[in-house]
Symmetry: C2
């Protein structure tokens, strides 16, 4: 009835925007703030439109998590392409990808927080386990050393500390730490 229908249709754009808004809400106000009304309202899309793209709230969350995993995969793959040494390559890719996602200027700091929030949902945790398992099987030939496991563990620790703002350390110490971690992947 109103002019609302008359705007151009851009399904992919709208879909992405819905995911972005959901991510922003999750990182800024926590899981309890991610409601269908809030998401649809903040993105200028009706709830009907939202439920057209994502048939249920769970589907929305899963899609959001999936997009984050895809972004992580892409970042890892990019880092791995620039790495000539096969041994420990995936672990270095994982490390660099996590660090890069933090250092991106435009609010991709949200990325970590959204991941955190989503990981707190038990249903999505299984998806994460599957991802890790799949990766560790995929790179069992080059990245199954104890040291590599330690580096990946430490990467998670850095990721967690970054997002919580705890364990603040100066850049010098950070540089030395990262250098040491990379060294460990090469042993």
């Amino acid at each position: 009835m109103s002019t609302a229908h008359h705007r151009k249709k851009q399904p992919l754009f709208v879909r992405q925007q819905l995911l972005d808004v959901a991510a922003r809400l999750a990182s800024e106000k926590g899981m309890t703030a991610v409601t269908l009304d809030a998401v649809s309202g903040a993105s200028g899309v009706s709830k009907g439109g939202l439920l057209h793209h994502f048939p249920s709230k769970n589907m929305l969350l899963e899609a959001l998590f999936e997009s984050l995993l895809a972004r992580l995969d892409a970042a890892i793959e990019e880092a791995m392409r620039a790495d000539p040494m096969p041994h420990g390559r995936f672990t270095r890719g994982y490390l660099h990808a996590c660090l890069a996602l933090r250092d991106q200027p435009q609010g991709t700091k949200d990325w970590a927080q959204v991941t955190m929030v989503l990981l707190s949902e038990p249903q999505l945790r299984q998806r994460w386990r599957d991802w890790v398992r799949g990766r560790s099987e995929e790179y069992v030939g080059t990245d199954s050393s104890v040291d590599a496991a330690i580096v990946r563990l430490a990467t998670d620790g850095i990721w967690l500390a970054d997002l919580l703002g705890s364990h603040d350390m100066d850049e010098g110490a950070r540089e030395r730490l990262i250098g040491r971690l990379i060294e460990l992947t090469q042993l």
Copy 2:
């Protein structure tokens, strides 16, 4: 009217039970499942009773988080008492406390998951930062080395991996890792 009022009054027990139920709900079904109705229902206490102990939902969550921090503090302090060497004592205490909380048989595996869920709420994240800051100031004399920071970071990584079930490694590798971490705190 019913016999509900006739049962014995045991405020501390009821209060603790409410916290336990909230923790269980959070770890099993995520933050969105922690509602006043769900908590009061699952603990056999009326919603009025719940709101008598915790005047608001936020107060309940804060109290829950506070109790977790208290438990962590206690575990650290206990570990530190058994440690004769001052240098790096807090960091070792932190490491041992996190490991001990994991190895406790009765569902204290929940502990990590609840912490995770609570940490995903932005309001409580600040409380965590304060805790870390307070601790790092308190032990600036004995635990401010770069290596100590690294160990605490790695501890967080282990904690995260344990709770997510990712990065699974055998006991041998784990033992070696922990040994190395302890060694680092002593340098």
